[in-house]
Subunit: 191 residues, 2 copies
DNA sequence: CTATATCGACCTACCAGAAGGTAGATCGCG
DNA sequence: CGCGATCTACCTTCTGGTAGGTCGATATAG
């Protein structure tokens, strides 16, 4: 793993914990056992670094989604795979919040370029959810009384809301609980 | 309005916009047209100030809730009143996010005392929602297939998730849309 | 097969400004 | 007078960022 990758990785962790203004080059340098100036060699400014972090995450998720859409024909199974990914991340605290989610909350106070990347992630996720919801309705696995777009926004809302809940209550189980209740409802709802 | 109150008020606005680490005494002083040192006279440290901000908000909401529980016997009407409060705040951008919500997202990077106050707010809100949901079930206005506690957590999740959505998409309408869909479901769900 | 030029990664040593915070003077009011 | 509110002036530490040097690997020329 290259130093640049390590920087992106560790910066991501720090941002998830404390937000954009909650970490510094000094923190990051200490964590990696290098000097501040070396970070500037790889990422001239903090904005460059944070944009790189968000974009890397975006690319990873887009890839994950593309693989799901190729390999898993069942809409509900796709959703479950995605949800299970987050369940694991939150349960073992390896990534206890969505990076873009943390940044989205402080969006008004962020440099413009970071904001663009963050909105990009939300759009990526939103678009996929629309597709998978429409597919689920066609497959009869998801409730019919709502538009797929509505279900998608609903689902995204629940995901991020559940992350807030897990963090606010200091209880990763809250995420599982809420998300499971949501999914159970979706399935039993076939009216 | 006393200077201390103005400080709490303005600090709240700044925190809602950019989080705990996204505002400074210098910012705040500039906004109020006074000097930094004068802020320290009222709130010796930043932690003191932020705790005061959260606690004031907590008190205000508790008061609002108590009034609702006294004056409004109908559970669904209580929920609507609360939701409408947030709809207004978000639509006119006077308070585009819950203060405690912003802080909750950066909780791991916050001073302990602030964290305690933030968790306090979430508990306050959660407890009320449990009560009002149980009442709603008794009144037959809310779906019966879920425990009141589950519905309460569900509702809280949707509220905070919808705030994240509104901010991430830069569209206050997202909040209304998602929350209305949630409420509509709750009501039509009487199985 | 050496000698040397080049280059990327990292370093030390700085800088200006902003951060949170303190000391102590001044001002106005009961 | 006493006191609260505000001020000026200052301190220390941290911030993101820069300048310029060292080191080792690799490429190239003699």
């Amino acid at each position: 793993m290259s130093t640049a990758d390590k920087l992106i990785d560790e910066a991501g962790r720090l941002i998830v914990n404390a937000g954009y203004n909650g970490f510094s080059y000094a923190h990051l340098a200490e964590r990696l056992g290098i000097r501040k100036a070396s970070i500037h060699h790889h990422f001239p400014s903090k904005v460059d670094l944070v944009v790189a972090v968000v974009e890397q995450q975006r690319a990873a998720i887009r890839e994950q989604i593309a693989a799901l859409e190729n390999d898993e024909p069942d809409a509900m199974a796709q959703l479950l795979a995605y949800v299970n990914y987050w369940k694991r991340c939150i349960e073992d605290q390896s990534e206890p919040f969505c990076l873009a989610g943390v940044l989205a909350v402080e969006l008004p106070g962020l440099p413009e370029e970071v904001g663009v990347a963050v909105r990009g992630h939300f759009n990526d996720l939103g678009e996929w959810l629309k597709r998978v919801m429409a597919l689920g309705v066609r497959q009869g696995a998801i409730q019919l009384e709502l538009e797929p777009d509505t279900s998608a926004q609903f689902f995204q809302t629940t995901l991020y809301g559940a992350m807030v809940m897990a963090r606010a209550y200091g209880d990763p189980g809250k995420f599982n609980f809420v998300v499971d209740a949501f999914l159970a409802r979706m399935r039993t709802d076939r009216s």
